[in-house]
Symmetry: C2
Subunit: 270 residues, 2 copies
Amino acid sequence: MLSILTDQIRSKQSFLCVGLDPVVEKLPVSLLSAADPMFEFCKRIIDATLPYAVAYKPNLAFFEANGSAGLASLERVIEYIPRECFAIADAKRGDIGNTAEAYARAFFERMQFNAVTLSPYMGADSIAPFLTRKGKMAIILAKTSNAGSNDFQMLELSTGRPLYLEVVAQCVSKWSPEQIMFVVGAQNAEELTQIRAIAPGYFFLIPGFGAQGGKLSDVSHILVPGEAGILANYSRQIIYASSGDDFDLKAGEKACEIAKEMAQLLADQI
Amino acid sequence: MLSILTDQIRSKQSFLCVGLDPVVEKLPVSLLSAADPMFEFCKRIIDATLPYAVAYKPNLAFFEANGSAGLASLERVIEYIPRECFAIADAKRGDIGNTAEAYARAFFERMQFNAVTLSPYMGADSIAPFLTRKGKMAIILAKTSNAGSNDFQMLELSTGRPLYLEVVAQCVSKWSPEQIMFVVGAQNAEELTQIRAIAPGYFFLIPGFGAQGGKLSDVSHILVPGEAGILANYSRQIIYASSGDDFDLKAGEKACEIAKEMAQLLADQI
């Protein structure tokens, strides 16, 4: 698997990914006078959670909602994330070749992300352009954490296989664990098992903890001994642990608490 | 159908959508000294094609590839597109509810787009947040124009229906022609027929003409008399008709030529 990730996971005994979803209306009043409140918020969250987080995942939507100024904030955030951490652009893009290449330039050249989340609907040639740069990865939606994930991802194909599993199977047949990961929601215990069975060496990015109801104990059965093989994402539960000026302190405390549970789960694997 | 579109289609006798995909390296040298070359390029393309185009479709990737400065260019472009034209954010987003809402704010409030393209993979609750603002639409990927569209969109479900058609059927059961359109590639004559059969009153946004090989005569069988029911998108063939300083003149000539063919097809319908 990926040394940048496994190094962090081993040294921090954590597989925590902190989702950075800053919403201007939710920021503490004291930050609003800063030159760039969204950046300032993310910076203080990163400082407070760095001992516990192995990855950070800014969600593009929350920056784009603030227009070009929001994207400028994101550029500062990605600059600020320490290089030893894994940085994920949660963008869920997916488009034809020349457009995919333009997005790859945005996330991997203009900004220094390690990986970007992608929707598989448009097929392999919409994913391949993200895999031409050494060390850069695509994280492909398989079975997501929302209720609507049942609308299409769970449809049974004529082969008897559900769509989400066919997506994983096709991707595994084309790309290595150094190139791709999969997004699988925490609440999908059965689907996590099915996907792990056909993608044993791959990392999963798992959303759906905390505000969305998933628990770490729901995913411990698919941990890979020694390497985790999981990034568990927490966003709101950490970054909005407090709405006051102690938001960073409370975020750090929450991240610490989650990382302790992770360390125990990792210890149980050995 | 949509009066903003049908008014333009009737007055211009055209169903041309011009795709704005500016790539800095492809811009005429004379533009590079402008304060904002990407905006200047798009502005001159819009000026030259306005008599023939009923819609404009900036592709987010090509602006984001230029970072926050690129998004600032896009903000100027959307300001400049005349309000009587239909403005499409070609973004192919698709995410959980609160994230989808943030994108909707980006495209419909921060910028004044009429519609945004979306991937259906995450299901109905990833599309619904885009439909809460009066007159704002979602354009949902059905069968796209790239080779990879066969990887998943064409998979046969256990019901015998291909995935792309199930996507259309579920969307049609939930939303009206005033709320959604579908993306269908020009080369897919059979799929266009299948989709038109279950979505008779809906607009289709059709890419894949020109550089991608599709011809207008391939789609004339699904035109809706009087209203077209189609937006045919041309990007590279128009905006890069010339690499010299006469790029806008040549873009206008190409758009005029395409619109003439469209007028003939519309006349043949009556």
